[in-house]
């Protein structure tokens, strides 16, 4: 069943790539490559900043490689709501031809302040900067999250099914591996932090964030499609994870938890009324705790990706000076990048562990009863 699923996914992805070079597109591409050669400037200048941020950032299509002048990329759906025209548009990003052509008065901006955004153009072809359309498109990070969610579902549902099929026997194979990690989360993260009485309620949540963060971190280290999209290095993704932690803490906080925030015992009354200093400070601390979780994961993952990109960019920077400098530095650069990637594997696990451990600690603080 899993094989069939994987083959179907591979087939759909293959269809995407094929569709990007359909018959009519190939004619458009021929016209475009003619236009490209007239637009092209000699690539003597290697812009390291663009190189790094294009890799760690988000994009409207999934760029795989550039062969000469031709970009091989997977087009992603674009959904736009134009405020000036009041209409909703949906199309594939291949219509933009990587920023060279405009489609239905929309244009993908490739340079300048609005780089990477889609803007409307008026009849003269100038960009309307006053109001950008509302961009709800599925970008590279979104598509990568969908892929990793499908991967996680396939893996864990197969493990759950193997538990159902052989209920009283020892686990074997992949089920064995996942069981050891689940027991690790239960015995070393959940039980010590939350306590025997309540830990079982929170196990699904803790397991979800642990495996989501770990597997997404590791998928981000794979350089080829479908890996390589910097998901957990996107602050929106980590913000959502930290927001979920905050919501779970606030929903499950018991009376003692809220009492300690708004009416903590042992604090003199003048700090609570008439100006509630202590309640505001305590509430802010419980909002800042998940925010620090967000920043820690985001910064760690972004820093790891940027270090790898800087090391690879060194090759091109040196190569722009003299091609033999580039060849020489590439040996050092590749060794350093391999070492950094091994470290990044460790960091991927540690960051997932620390996020889950701190979430469990905060949940433990929220549900403890005082005798």
């Amino acid at each position: 069943m899993i094989k069939g699923f994987l083959y179907t996914t591979l087939l759909t992805i293959g269809l995407f790539t094929v569709s990007s070079v359909k018959a009519e597109d190939s004619i458009n591409n021929a016209i475009d490559s003619l236009q490209d050669t007239t637009h092209i400037t000699p690539k003597a200048e290697f812009n390291a900043g663009d190189f790094i941020f294009d890799h760690v950032g988000d994009a409207h299509d999934w760029h795989i490689m550039t062969v000469g002048d031709y970009n091989i990329s997977i087009p992603l759906p674009i959904f736009l709501y134009s405020k000036t025209r009041g209409k909703f548009y949906a199309f594939f990003s291949s219509k933009f031809h990587h920023g060279h052509s405009s489609f239905k008065d929309f244009k993908l901006i490739t340079e300048g302040e609005l780089k990477g955004k889609i803007a409307e153009i008026d009849s003269q072809g100038d960009v309307i900067t006053a109001s950008l359309p509302i961009d709800l498109s599925l970008k590279k990070n979104g598509a990568a999250i969908i892929f990793s969610c499908i991967l996680l579902s396939v893996l864990f549902i197969s493990v759950a099914n193997s538990y159902k099929k052989r209920p009283e026997s020892a686990p074997k194979g992949f089920q064995n591996l996942i069981e050891s990690f689940v027991l690790f989360v239960r015995d070393d993260i959940a039980k010590p932090s939350i306590g025997e009485k309540h830990y079982n309620r929170f196990m699904p949540f803790l397991l979800t964030i642990f495996f989501f963060i770990w597997i997404n971190n590791m998928i981000g280290l794979i350089p080829i499609f479908p890996g390589g999209a910097n998901i957990t290095g996107n602050i929106a993704v980590t913000m959502v994870l930290a927001f979920f932690t905050m919501v779970v803490i606030f929903i499950n906080g018991n009376k003692h938890f809220w009492k300690h925030i708004f009416n903590s015992p042992g604090v003199p009354v003048f700090l609570k009324l008439p100006i509630p200093v202590m309640p505001v400070v305590e509430l802010a601390s419980w909002i800042i705790k998940p925010a620090v979780l967000m920043i820690r994961l985001f910064a760690n993952m972004l820093a790891g990706h940027m270090i790898a990109m800087v090391l690879f960019g060194l090759i091109f920077i040196f190569g722009a000076v003299n091609i033999y400098f580039g060849f020489t530095i590439s040996i050092v650069s590749i060794l350093l990048a391999v070492f950094m990637s091994i470290l990044e594997l460790l960091v991927a696990f540690i960051q997932a562990f620390v996020f889950t451990m701190l979430s469990a600690l905060f949940l433990g603080m929220a549900v403890t009863e005082h005798n």
Partner: protein, 84 residues
């Protein structure tokens, strides 16, 4: 007069970048000092009592990650100064 203003304006941006770079090196000093203290005491206590090495190791990793989290917070601010 206008050249003076132009130079001051350019110098202002350069001062911000110098500030961000020096700030980031101070962050590295603080974070590495803190984590090295944790590592040193963890190694000493693991040598004193080898059977609790596992507990001490996990506590060490957690404390190091927390300190690193704070330092990354400050690094992000330096990055924002340079980029914005």
């Amino acid at each position: 007069m206008t050249t003076l203003f132009i130079i001051l304006e350019v110098a202002g941006m350069a001062l911000a970048k110098i500030g961000a770079a020096i700030g980031s090196s101070i962050i590295v000093l603080g974070a590495s000092y803190g984590i090295s203290k944790i590592g040193a005491t963890a190694l000493e206590s693991m040598a004193r009592q080898p059977e609790s090495a596992g507990d001490i190791r996990s506590s060490m990793v957690i404390s190091a990650a927390l300190i690193e989290g704070v330092s990354f917070f400050a690094i992000i601010i330096c990055a924002l100064v340079i980029l914005l």
